[in-house]
């Protein structure tokens, strides 16, 4: 049995804690905020269950890495797989976005790039793929990357994109947890507590103490000794609380991704189903979902909660938000709607701590200190990437 400290009660911290406590270890989690769940929980506002970050969506629903771990640890949370998985609004019509729905020219280009990658290891960024292809494919690609990763084609290499496409084909599209993100957080907390683990809120970890390359414990107001430390706060912040200059230098190079989320109240549904609506024709908004079609309790009195997401493409955040708002005005012109919250994310509280494809793994310069969460994803996106990273780490720890 190990004595384990987890810094941060985000999804990454809680998921690791659930697994380790199920295996009989003694686990204590510390978070500086007054609530657990970090960027993946609910925050109630005017009767709506808004979220602290995530769009109440799991990229690969029940079948992905997160869905699998939740079942393994005995979570009873219900995830409604999206149906249809995703549609694109294009020239006033809804289009399905399966492989066969794209023009032959862009499908052929995909095959050509695939072969060049397989045979010659060629690996270019996707802005090169965009050049010369039809506008539907090019714009859809932008909206897909904006929605799922808050990035643009020049931010991602073909090999990484290929693995995303493969994962969608392997695990299927997204799902919405009934009860929103918080349902998952609550169910993990229950599992941890039933195994005598503790979740300590409003406890900021100020430092980690170590000798040579072994960490010995954490510093709150007092010093606490542990055998193993998992950090849910990313490489950069972890390096800073360690005060390790060399590690700080390496970790500070990792770039986070920025985005804006709009929460919109509607009397009548706009999307009307549980899938993602991609909006490749809009200036900034890349897609929307309407989670009340999966769980009406996420909004009060029969209303709907529509959420729109955009990447931030310039350094002028107010300008970016205004473009998003004008997109919404155009899109919802025949609907009665109210934007109830505009939330932006960057730097120390980003959409993703590391832009997709730039992960440096869960290891740190210290033998018994590892990173969990979106600072050390496995080969999958968003919270499924968090789960994949933790699954790999747990194999390593045995």
């Amino acid at each position: 049995m190990m004595k384990v400290a987890i810094i941060g009660a985000g999804l990454g911290g809680l998921l690791s804690a659930a697994i380790l406590s199920e295996e009989g270890n003694s686990v204590d989690i510390y978070d500086r905020l007054p609530f657990s769940g970090g960027r993946f929980t609910n925050i109630p506002y005017k009767g709506f269950q808004l979220s602290t970050g995530a769009l109440h969506m799991i990229p690969h629903g029940n079948r992905g890495p997160l869905g699998k771990i939740l079942k393994q640890v005995g979570s009873k949370v219900e995830i409604e797989d999206s149906k249809p998985e995703g549609l694109a609004l294009w020239e006033g019509e809804l289009k399905t976005v399966r492989r066969k729905d794209f023009p032959r020219g862009s499908r052929n280009k995909m095959i050509k790039w695939y072969l060049l990658h397989k045979i010659f290891r060629r690996d270019r960024t996707l802005d090169k793929f965009e050049e010369g292809i039809d506008t539907f494919t090019a714009n859809f690609l932008r909206s897909f990357l904006g929605w799922s990763l808050s990035i643009t084609p020049s931010d991602i290499k073909f090999s990484k994109f290929l693995s995303i496409v493969k994962n969608v084909e392997k695990f299927g599209g997204p799902g919405i947890p009934i009860g929103g993100c918080k349902a998952i957080i609550d169910s993990l907390t229950e599992i941890i507590k039933s195994n005598d683990g503790t979740v300590n809120l409003r406890k900021k970890v100020e430092g980690i103490f170590f000798s040579n390359d072994i960490v010995e414990g954490i510093k709150l107001k007092e010093k606490l000794k542990y055998d193993l430390i998992l950090s849910n706060i990313g490489h950069d912040l972890t390096a800073r609380i360690l005060g390790d200059e060399e590690y700080i230098r390496r970790a500070s190079k990792l770039q986070p991704s920025s985005g804006v989320k709009f929460s919109i109240a509607l009397e009548e549904p706009f999307i009307g189903n549980t899938g993602v609506l991609f909006t490749p024709e809009l200036k900034r908004i890349s897609g929307l979902n309407e989670v009340t079609n999966a769980d009406p309790n996420l909004a009060p009195g029969g209303k709907h909660l529509l959420m729109a997401h955009q990447a931030v493409l310039t350094s002028n955040l107010k300008y970016e938000i205004n473009l998003g708002l004008s997109d919404l005005k155009e899109l919802l012109k025949n609907y009665k709607y109210e934007v109830i919250a505009i939330q932006s994310y960057s730097n120390g509280w980003p959409v993703n701590r590391i832009k997709a494809g730039n992960d440096i793994g869960y290891r740190t310069p210290y033998k018994n200190l590892y990173i969990v969460g979106d600072g050390a994803k496995g080969d999958c996106i968003e919270v499924d990437g968090i789960a994949a990273g933790i699954r790999n780490l747990m194999r390593d720890l045995v």
Partner: protein, 73 residues
């Protein structure tokens, strides 16, 4: 860990004691607005606190994930 030196965007003085200020590293996540019992906060890219409405409960400070709402002398 040291916090970056704050460049204060909005400042207020309340009950003649402390001053609450929003630092420029506020990301605009709006948690403070969502939890404020007085609807005293407006967020559009960064938070602005309406000193007339604020009851000084400090709830916004506790919920800020990047410690951008600070008390200054």
């Amino acid at each position: 860990m040291d916090l970056p030196i704050a460049n204060f965007l909005t400042q207020q003085r309340r009950h003649n004691t402390e001053m609450m200020a929003v630092a420029n590293y506020c990301v605009g996540c709006a948690f403070c607005m969502l939890v404020c019992p007085e609807e005293a906060i407006n967020v559009l890219g960064n938070a602005e606190i309406d000193r007339e409405k604020c009851s000084d409960c400090k709830r916004c400070m506790r919920y800020c994930p990047v410690e951008a709402i600070r008390l200054v002398e």
